[in-house]
Symmetry: C2
Subunit: 140 residues, 2 copies
């Protein structure tokens, strides 16, 4: 019997307004445990591609249709999720429009890159966002 | 009960000789079904980081110690593995020395990039290697 970590996916959604001005990235207040601020995301279903799971979860939690820009990394430290071993494929994506909390998201927020409350983030989402911010600096 | 695809990892090992001359990439003849030519790889264990699983599998199947260069992509088409739904995190890595078949590998081969028998590859490893060759062209 094969046993592997659960496979999840999380999205760093870069949100733009109708005039293509960058508004910030989208974070959610989790409805389920562990409570706290998080990137939107969820588990990949059997029979579903990771990219499709990402788009489905972004839609379910934030009501946004997203376009994937690139895969940032896979985060798989066995201790990153306090419940069980979960590996998450993290994608950077972009979207337009107004996010609206849904499904596992209690509230949804838009944060300027220099105003993200990193210490309020659950799981290893602080590290994920720090890696994202670092990669943006390297591109500039 | 959460059910997600099994999580695996495969490696594109760029092999160099002692004088840092590129020798080719390492492929294996699989001992277990499905039989055929494949990238070395295997399942991620619970409690193990994906990068550690990659290094363990490369060592088990080819006897090589590898250094990870970068994550190429995650391949998760539900039909890519004929047995069940498996998502594979594919890493490009480098190594030195002489590969030796071990574990699930019946034979181990070193192929020049322009001599890889793409149509003999199992799973979606043909596509994975084509993506790799394409990314190398774009870098050059």
């Amino acid at each position: 019997m094969i046993k592997t970590p659960f496979l999840a996916t999380d999205g760093i959604i870069e949100l733009y307004d109708e005039n293509n001005n960058f508004k910030g990235i989208v974070l959610i207040q989790r409805l389920n445990k562990p409570h706290g601020l998080a990137l939107p995301g969820g588990f990949v279903d059997i029979g579903e591609k990771v990219e499709d799971a990402l788009k489905r979860e972004m839609k379910e939690e934030t009501s946004l249709d997203v376009e994937i820009k690139r895969l940032q990394n896979i985060y798989s430290d066995p201790k990153r999720d306090p419940r069980f071993h979960t590996a998450s494929a993290v994608y950077i994506c972009k979207s337009k429009g107004e996010p609206k909390a849904n499904d596992d998201a209690k509230e949804v927020y838009i944060y300027d890159l220099d105003k993200i409350p990193l210490d309020k983030l659950v799981f290893d989402h602080k590290k994920i966002i720090e890696d994202y911010l670092l990669s943006k600096e390297q591109i500039l």
